[in-house]
Symmetry: C2
């Protein structure tokens, strides 16, 4: 039932305004349609053209230079989604709310939803029928303890079905994912060349940083082009068995990206949404085997062992039912992994390890080898417990470095030379003792204030880690910036607090993790 | 702490785009600021000018005719909120989320919030620091059973404090409110002249219809100007003791309007939000005594007696603590009140009652007299139980009509003559029997499809009410439209269903209400 009027004809025009994932339509205030229909700015309208229709949020324009009274302006995404030609005739009507909002309202009232409900919801979201506020309502209603584990499974399936799914036509497609929250921690850039050198398929895509000082994509970009066309990525993966590309395509589980664009600014997330988001992306990318890294620590994303265990079980429950071979390891998230935080400094750590340099950070090397070992054990021909030794052999022999260089060449070597920022200052210990705590969140903030990840050379270089002794006045870390304003922000931020706690060896928090 | 960079200077320009209550800023894609800061469309930014700052959602523009690379375009509301002159220099930075979102996140996690939290939240909302999605998150988190009664009290106080508060400097300022959902039911247009004729102050403001076929404001507009400047309204109320004006000002409890603009399209509401919304508006308007009409019926907003009782207790709890003399009556919401549905038809009913016409609908007259009687009993000099007789005497004597005419003259008589729409058709009974059900929601839909409230003459005129007998083929109601397309929509809608159930007198649902 359409409870509204369909307007007389309007001529459509493309407005060169990018409204990201929200369709916006522009009507002149003197347009007869606007006045007759009692529309209001921010109302949602449906735009009809022949068989096509899209939904858009209405903005009202008072300037004929932008749109005239007989026109309907559409933002770039809306225009291309409708597929209209400039000047084509369209009609508009007040939009009905998407029918799946009934299910969202039932969820708000505490009901359990079925797979068919989640399918309808994701279908409406991917067709741009949800406004940002409708997405926010869905996220809040399904956040926190809003989803039981079968609902997480349903949501994962619905999100997976919302986009394309890559089929590599191989029996074993490995992947690795860290739920994040630990500065540095660039294990993927070591694990991928090791696993690919072994001959196992690992088509790794990563995200850019959103709230952290560097994602794998930002760091890899210091060395190589990361924005690969699908065909080029496939060719590379077939020849080299691995890649380190940016996953920022909307082809795979697009609903995930759309929900994240609302979730992030709201600062809300829940275990259920995290599991559905990660697993739908990985399954859409064609993974058959997945290793999950769940770091636990007082300043990590997961702060208690019981939460890590609950998250692991939830991943296992959903993964098992979707025929994904999934292993989750709970790792030490008490402090940053590696010395560098920020794209250039993290790249330096990674290359030192690949080059077997004596200065290479031991913690990042060890963690990467252990994770790579677990992935290698997905191979039926690798005996249980032998993965680590194989990984170490590949690294020590230089085969991992050679593989990394071939991946870099194939993706396109970054010709611009990057260096740590020219401006820098040290932060020193205020007393003698042992490092008993390093605040992950605080150090990530320092690196971001210094300009990471936008300015590649910005970041923090750690000189001391947990359990190490310092004398009063000895440096704890150095902050690098490329611009004076960033230097000043970071300098001011560490004025009263270094993010380190110096104390007695007895005060180091213990941790009971896989590694 | 500001964790971001403040940009170099941009020249601000006003874009004649009305984005309602959401500030939007437009940056050219080639603007250095856009590229350096890693902004993304839909990101929220802060715009700084001298001491002033506002927040806005970012749209990215590819057309220099809209904004150039050195400019920052602002939508109309954003431009006037900043108070800038065209071409003045501003800087921008990524906006921090509003600090009160911490409280919203705690609410999502199930915590109870304090008055100070609600004050922070409403302060951030009224300062346009909340995006629509943040408002949606707040509404969902506090919806359903999200608020206990002390939280409803806190939210009411916080919303009340978000705007101006009128002080009439009189000991008794009466008001009346119906929670809605019943077509027709124009009791305010009868109650106000009766109460004002008695000499009791009743500065009544009403809303326009949003989802219904007519609000009191839409109907009064058939007779008089309803958009009164504050000074004019005050003068009128001082001389005539009452008015029937549009309340669509943003001065009073503005947070309420802002939340409603998100709540309506989402189709979510909760008792707690309804109570806070209504009471904050009434208190801000200066009411000391309030009569609440809560209709109950199978197709009304409140469907069960237990929900009506719960709502009444919640109103009483909050009203008592805010020193508002509040009486709530639970009334018969099984069917429309009066015969007309739609602005012109409802006006006809009201004027027939004021003129003591023999054709006047008895149900609307009786309900209005009872409600008016209860309001008159707020007067300490009126003996309990005598209000109804006084109200009836005022109506029968023509004093109510005289008062109504003076109010109309003072507000400005509507010179255009309105009539029911020229196009009409009848809907007839398909069988003989007694009317045992009339679907409020269905008839409201018919009237809206016919064009109400936008086309004043559109609507439905009921010929039969609950308990009345009809023969097969006798008309149940007539639908009026002003335009053929509306006629067609309404005609098609009633093709398979009339909204009436004809049956046996025994099947009429019973109701146990005040009146």
């Amino acid at each position: 039932m359409n409870s509204n009027f369909i307007s007389s004809r309007l001529k459509v025009c493309r407005l060169a305004i990018d409204t990201y994932r929200e369709n916006v339509a522009y009507l002149h205030r003197d347009c007869l349609v606007y006045r007759a229909e009692g529309f209001q700015a921010l109302a949602k309208i449906t735009v009809f053209m022949d068989g096509q229709q899209i939904q858009a949020v209405l903005n009202v324009v008072d300037d004929e230079a932008i749109v005239g009274p007989g026109q309907l302006g559409l933002s770039e995404q809306a225009f291309s989604q409708l597929g209209a030609a400039e000047g084509e005739e369209v009609r508009v009507a007040q939009a009905e709310p998407p029918s799946s909002m009934d299910a969202v309202r039932r969820k708000i009232e505490g009901e359990r939803l079925e797979l068919s409900d989640y399918r309808e919801i994701t279908q409406d979201i991917v067709s741009s029928r949800y406004s940002k506020m409708e997405m926010a309502a869905f996220l809040v209603a399904t956040g926190q303890n809003g989803l039981d584990r079968d609902e997480v499974l349903s949501l994962t399936i619905a999100m997976l079905e919302s986009g394309e799914r890559i089929n590599w036509n191989e029996p074993l497609v490995s992947d690795k994912h860290c739920i994040g929250g630990i500065p540095g921690n660039r294990t993927s850039m070591l694990l991928v060349p090791i696993v690919a050198a072994h001959g196992m398929l690992i088509p790794k895509t990563s995200s850019r940083a959103i709230t952290s000082p560097a994602g794998t994509a930002d760091t890899m970009e210091v060395l190589a082009n990361i924005e690969l066309e699908p065909e080029r990525m496939e060719k590379l993966v077939r020849t080299e068995r691995g890649c380190l590309a940016w996953g920022g395509t909307t082809r795979l589980a697009p609903v995930d990206d759309m929900l994240i664009s609302v979730e992030r600014p709201l600062g809300i997330d829940s275990q259920g949404q995290m599991v559905a988001s990660i697993l739908s992306k990985k399954l859409a990318a064609g993974a058959t085997h997945l290793l999950l890294d769940i770091p636990v620590g007082a300043t990590a994303k997961v702060r208690h062992m019981r939460d890590a265990m609950r998250l692991r079980k939830l991943f296992e429950y959903v993964g098992d039912r979707l025929n994904l071979h999934l292993e989750a390891v709970i790792t030490d998230g008490r402090q940053p992994i590696g010395n560098g935080v920020g794209p250039v400094l993290e790249t330096r750590d990674v290359m030192q390890i690949l080059q077997n340099s004596p200065n290479a950070p031991v913690d990042l090397r060890e963690k990467s080898l252990r994770l790579a070992g677990r992935v290698l054990e997905f191979d039926p021909d690798v005996r249980g417990g032998q993965g680590y030794a194989i990984a170490r052999e590949i690294l020590d022999s230089g085969r991992a470095l050679a593989k990394m260089n071939r991946i870099i060449e194939e993706q396109g070597r970054q010709l611009e030379e990057y260096e740590p920022g020219k401006l820098s200052f040290e932060v020193r210990a205020k007393e003698k003792g042992v490092v008993v705590n390093i605040d992950n969140y605080f150090l990530a903030q320092v690196a971001r204030l210094a300009g990471a990840p936008i300015f590649k050379g910005a970041g923090v270089d750690l000189y001391r880690k947990l359990g190490e002794s310092v004398l009063k006045g000895e440096p704890l870390y150095r902050v690098y910036a490329e611009h004076q304003s960033n230097y000043d922000f970071a300098y001011e931020f560490v004025g009263t607090n270094s993010g380190y706690v110096i104390g007695d060896k007895m005060d180091i928090p213990s941790v009971f993790v896989d590694f």
